[in-house]
Symmetry: C2
Subunit: 427 residues, 2 copies
């Protein structure tokens, strides 16, 4: 790869070469044994622990580069590694090793009257392209998750985290070599030119099967609009929580505060609270109180303002804003029908919750709302692969094709049909 860089500065040539190597690596990886993949993963974790001093040195250089620039504290936090985070990265890889291998799993099997035995069996997708921003640990997470599902992966990190990502990537390659797996199974794009992203979005001459963007809204929006290959992503998590008049108010208070305030910056955080118009006296006031006590700013619809005159008025923009902050928009709706209409108009199809004791309300919500994750009497912050029991996830998808909701190892696979006969010919 270094030769290619030296011989040709053309990004497309470099990138297509990476694509070819990934495709070549994907083939043997597709039927590599579970044992070999797990040995590679443990060797990666070992290498990360053994090389933690080097990783931290490289991370310090990355951090030094942004020193003095007008950088958000949250950005610096995402970029920063320390001993604890390195240990967690290694443990994360070992946890992926502990997951069941999805490849080869028989998803369905049936016999035909003519004696043919049909099986649908999981296979890897092939080559995954992961485009991420500042978090260097995505290098390890995404690399390990794709490997477990038998896929080759092409990682493209943000320029700010390039040294950290390179140091981590070197450990992953050590692990692949230790287990005798193809070293191009996990490649890190060696240039941070934006044109490299464009080349990946065009699919590297058919080499990339799916793109996973890991980053903020502007990155995801670019990927979704430019990609010529399928994308697993959500643009935003504009999650709603509807409190019905039949809801247990004590349960509703606990869930609403948790859904909004536990962590405000994650995609499963609630952004809009919808309260049943039949429950203004019983439910709306106590919910506004607990949110305010928890330090949350409220932006209310006209009816909310009548009940709580001190509250700021919500504009149309508030219903479409993913705050990712201690702010919530609150509307009074005409029962479950009003809640469904509001969600259909404004939802990003990520996650929505209904708090209700009336089973008819729950069933209508579960039937008519078509977001990836629907919850009854539970916090929207459960929208997470780990919380679903899927192990690690590479992200959450809101598209309708192939993967939806948390994208874990199973969702990174395709399938094929195996048909066993005894000489059958078609009449």
């Amino acid at each position: 790869m270094l030769d290619t860089v030296a011989l040709s500065p053309d990004i497309d040539v470099l990138m297509n070469d990476i694509g070819r190597k990934a495709k070549a690596a994907a083939r043997p990886l597709g039927f590599a044994s579970t044992d070999a993949k797990n040995r590679a993963l443990h060797a990666m974790a070992d290498a990360i622990v053994a090389n933690s001093a080097h990783i931290l040195d490289e991370n310090a250089k990355d951090l030094k580069d942004i020193e003095g620039s007008e950088t958000l504290a949250s950005f610096v936090d995402r970029l920063t590694l320390n001993d604890k985070r390195i240990a967690e990265m290694a443990e994360g890889i070992r946890a992926i090793a502990a997951l069941a291998d999805p490849v080869g799993e028989i998803i369905a099997a049936w016999d035909r009257p003519n004696g043919l035995k049909i099986e649908r069996v999981r296979t890897p997708l092939g080559v995954i392209g992961v485009i991420f921003e500042s978090r260097p640990n995505v290098t390890a997470d995404a690399g390990a998750l794709c490997l477990k599902a038998g896929n080759a992966v092409i990682l493209r990190c943000g320029s700010d985290s390039r040294r950290s990502s390179q140091a981590i990537h070197a450990c992953l390659v050590d692990g692949l070599k230790a287990a005798g797996l193809p070293e191009h199974a996990i490649q890190l794009v060696p240039v941070t030119d934006r044109a490299a992203v464009g080349a990946m979005l065009r699919g590297l001459d058919g080499a990339i099967d799916v793109i996973v963007p890991r980053g903020g809204k502007s990155l995801v929006a670019r990927v979704q609009s430019e990609a010529r290959v399928p994308v697993f992503a959500h643009l935003e998590g504009l999650c709603h929580i509807y409190v019905d008049a039949s809801a247990d108010i004590e349960m509703a208070k606990k869930i609403v505060v948790n859904a909004k305030m536990r962590r405000t910056g994650i995609c499963g955080a609630a952004e809009t609270l919808l309260v049943d118009g039949a429950a203004i006296g019983t439910h709306l006031t106590p919910l506004l109180e607990v949110l305010t006590e928890a330090g949350c700013e409220i932006r209310g619809s006209a009816t909310v303002l009548k009940v709580a005159p001190g509250v700021k008025s919500a504009t149309e923009e508030d219903w479409t804003t993913e705050y990712l902050d201690s702010i919530i928009s609150v509307a009074v709706v005409d029962g479950i029908s009003g809640a469904i209409a509001h969600i259909q108009k404004y939802s990003s199809n990520h996650t929505e919750a209904v708090i209700a004791e009336d089973p008819a309300v729950v069933e209508r919500f579960f039937t008519e709302v078509d977001s990836a994750i629907l919850l009854h009497n539970a916090s929207t912050q459960f929208a997470d692969g780990g919380e679903f029991g899927m192990g690690a996830e590479i992200g959450i998808a809101t598209g309708k094709m192939h993967a939806r909701g948390p994208v874990g190892v199973e969702q990174l696979t395709s399938f094929k049909y195996r048909v066993r006969g005894a000489g059958q010919i078609r009449p």
Copy 2:
């Protein structure tokens, strides 16, 4: 819709209006009852039978238009309707009514240690765009199949079959109305301008979730290269059949002749025969003999020509040609490894068969070949949704995303997660 045509000749305006109406229809259709969908399907079949004279009249006009032009007999045959074909069309719709409704089916369910109950449940995909050529019966097949899976569909027929398709489409709309389902659930594009196809391939402003092309290679190629939305299709079925030295020769003879000659024009017809180099004496000669007796032209590799000097020599182009005719290319390969290498180089990832008694050979074939359908000791012509027991199919897909192999009602669905709690908040 006619008003829109009258007011604006702009195809994009017309098509986006069709897209909006499809999306609006898809919402209530997504949770329409199984009973309502089945009533609509039976009413459609009834309407087709009741209106068969009108459908045949319109079909006669379509056929008259192409009279005298240099049209292939096979093209005329595909366009022609008669009483038998109309009866089959109606029966096909009733067979789709008889299939299980995939929408609402719980695909997976599990409980979490914190008491959350998670279900993955099938939902419709949304809006399907079907682009087809001369066969008017696709109007009925595709319309009925999409409806059963709860999807709205936008049908775009070829110009040659437009009157026949319109007459059939009117019957489908009658059926929708009879069951109280939205009439825009099945729309037929009222213009045959090629720009209408372009608009569909761009997704009609986000309205179309997936495109299904039904037609020849040039249509599928255009759709695959231009589509900005996912496509369920195969470009070609370049199917291989490998006969191992361990194969029962009598079984191999029957299967090879059936795979090639039963119907040569379908995508599951075998195009290349690969014979184990260890079986030249025992297997190659008899296989060449039965193929020749069955009227098949043979194009052989150098080794084949040594054994059968009269045979025509295969060129590089033969290994990449889907003949869809009574011609087969034949190569001698170095056992299962050679067969896998040949298939990986030339396959269209549609369907491949292995004829062998050695289980190790079968397992390597099943593991290392990544085509949508792999068969052992059975004919490649079983590559069909009906033969798989899936009921009707809208086509066969060779992509790795979402749908692969026969695309029936189940494959025309997505899913969502329903999570039931009892007040759980995330720690």
